[in-house]
Chain length 335, copies 3
């Protein structure tokens, strides 16, 4: 049930919601002018147009979400002068200069911990925790707050399990890893020198001082996965980053925020998958291949080593090249 | 002599052989039916068709090894119904559904430690070992069982020398490294954050739960090599992974299992070499180039940065591109 | 002022100059024969042709520097028989077989610490330093000699600040980093598992035993930068490696020696920039792109993911491909 929720958009079990906030507090925080009838109205969360309920605030920044916007149940919506008329009468528009920046700011208000990725000061020597006789562990292992570890697990030397980590049963975590905001199911192997659950590379570029947006998603690693040495797997921003059951990652792989990889997939060394791309089941990706952001790669797809994928790929397709194309075409063009 | 042996296929100085096993034990373990005349016959090792002796078990999975198969000295051979007739009379066929899976399973029986890459619990603070006054070392250095270190060596902070490591003289190992199952000769430098000697990305894909195959090979790093920061060098599966004398690796390089690199080669940052490829002497590889698996790259070859090599390359050739081709052709096509 | 100096060629605040040396000592060290009138002449430093003053030794190895050579103020110059006549009369030529090798050797004489990148033995537990109540720090943090840290900084678990590091105010350094020979300004974030300030991949290839050349440059990271997980940023050899203000680097990026990146640039995951390339301001580089050495990339340039840049790129240009070309051309050729 928890897993089903985590797989859905915009839910996370880890970040504390600092709300509710009065709508007037939020308006003051945004420094905008808008007339509100019920000034004491409580806002309990920020969610997308679809997931929002009456006491949520939502955001609407692009015409392509028009059909969802006009059915939103949220009572307030961050949006633009142009888009505001698409909202239902039950939803008051809060017109702002930059919807996504304002959304980031309001999200930070609700989830201040989600923007701060400083090292976890709460992490303490495992010898001083309840896990000292439940886990087989190396030297200098640290465990943060809100960590839960199942039976028959191993954690290697110098590994730091920062706050907000759930580890299932029979997992083997190697040495020199940093893990936070991550839910690891059963029989998972994580080798050495990985960083998992850090925020992604998401921010609004502003001259002199970029604005980071909050990452309230987590990383979910399902049963029987193996994560190779030197992996970096970023947690999601508004959704979660997911590695499906029995998927194996070789060394030096980078998985960006919000990426979802299906089950039984095999990803060779030095592959990089950019933000929000969705990879199917039984997918094979050759070494050093790269996949651009916001793409959809079907089931049973094979991507040749070194490929650069910049378009969606349908099920049961073999591709190779940069940009990646059908492998027969690639081999014919490169005889 | 040891080095010569290590360079040969299927020999390793580190993994304990749990044999001998009676042939009947092996047959029972594989759950197959076969009639054996001498049920007490001792099997002492598993080796390839060529290296096997009378008391070894071997494996034969592809017609292309026919000419070696019909001369094998092994008394037993894992093979298929189709191939079994190629074996000499002295060799009893053990017909199995999947030769390589069965080979992996029997190898695990002989070398159970070669399949387990959990962190090394035997690693202990160097201050509590005999090396505390023979090596110059940093804080939090750990040394596992079966480790030998020569004179005038340095080992940096947080570095974990796990079990089965031999380090020669005058070596400088940096900080945050994890090294196991590795033989390092003299005057070698290993910078920081490397993982060396871990098993490779080798397994049989099986839905829901892949089957790892054992890696009984080691990593051999010869005299005067330098290994850059963030390298991952996997040990071999049935043979060894070798970095030849005076070869320099830049940062963030991935060397997969069974790769053999010659002497005096220069490999720039972020290069990846897939499993079992063999690279010659005096080879120069530009940054981010990738080399597919099972290839043979000649001596004095130059591979341009960013290249994707998917075919063998003869001696004294300069190539570039993806797929890599003669550099003159590449430059002409890309004016 | 310090920063201005550091941005200039051939100045570093960290490496101790072991000079002065008598010119006769240097000549003896080089094992060359040359007649010197004033045998007691003091050489205080080695610098390039342009920066040298009367008491410096310089080097001149290529005809393309002829116009600078004939105005050098240095009293002595390492050069070749062919080039020596370009020098002014005030400058005595020291003819050597290989100018760059001799330059490396003399630089090592002045700056012996710049060639040795062994782990820093002087690094000590932060609890035993003056920073124990000025910095918020994790477990097992080490601080070397000649380190200065500003106010309101955080340093994560297992991070090693080796010698010669200046950290400004409000910096957040994550866990498992190794940093040396680096000047970090204010409000900088460095995530986890980075190695910063190590020597670059610079050496003279010599069969059996390459000759490393000294790296007397540093790494300069300006205000508001963010460096992602697993970065390797090498210090400069004769100049410095610079990451400009408010530039953000994603995970697993490799920045080679002497690279200079401008302000407000955005560099996605797994990008590699080879030695001595100069990147402008407001540059965006997509994931896994590679940039060859000694290139000049203009301001406001956008480089598509996976590109391989092998030529200079003028301001305000969008490129993609391998080799990278104008993005319209790339998209047209790859419809």
């Amino acid at each position: 049930m928890l897993i089903a929720l985590i797989k859905a958009i915009m839910s996370n079990p880890f970040f504390k919601n600092n709300g509710p906030f009065k709508i007037t507090e939020i308006i003051k925080f945004l420094d905008i002018k808008v007339k509100i009838s019920n000034q004491n109205f409580d806002i309990i969360d920020i969610k997308d147009l679809f997931s929002s309920k009456q006491n949520d605030i939502t955001f609407f920044h692009s015409k392509k979400y028009k059909n969802i916007a006009n059915k939103t149940k949220a009572s307030f919506c961050l949006t633009t002068e142009t888009l505001k008329n698409e909202l239902p009468k039950s939803c008051t528009a809060l017109v702002v200069d930059n919807v996504l920046v304002s959304t980031a700011r309001v999200t930070s208000l609700f989830y201040p911990d989600s923007i701060n990725d400083d090292f976890d000061k709460t992490a303490t020597d495992i010898n001083d925790t309840d896990y000292n006789n439940k886990v087989i562990f190396g030297k200098n292992v640290l465990i943060g707050e809100n960590v839960s570890i199942g039976v028959n697990c191993k954690i290697g030397h110098n590994t730091i399990i920062e706050k907000n980590v759930v580890i299932g049963d029979n997992c083997s975590i190697g040495s020199n890893n940093v893990i936070k905001n991550t839910l690891i199911q059963n029989d998972v192997k994580i080798l050495d020198n990985c960083v998992i659950g850090k925020h992604g590379f998401g921010f609004f570029p502003i001259n002199n001082k970029n604005l980071r947006y909050p990452h309230i998603g987590i990383v979910l690693i399902e049963d029987n996965c193996e994560i190779g040495c030197g992996a970096t797997i970023d947690r999601g921003s508004m959704s979660n980053t997911i590695i499906g059951k029995n998927t194996y990652l070789d060394n030096q792989i980078h998985i960006a925020h919000n990426v979802k990889i299906g089950e039984n997939s095999i990803i060779a060394g030095q592959v990089g998958i950019a933000g929000s791309s969705i990879i199917g089941h039984n997918v094979k990706i050759g070494g050093q291949a790269g996949i651009s952001g916001h793409l959809s790669i079907g089931n049973n797809v094979e991507i040749g080593g070194g490929s650069g994928v910049i378009r969606n790929i349908p099920d049961n397709t073999k591709v190779m090249g940069y940009p990646a194309k059908n492998i027969r075409e690639f081999l014919r063009d490169n005889k």
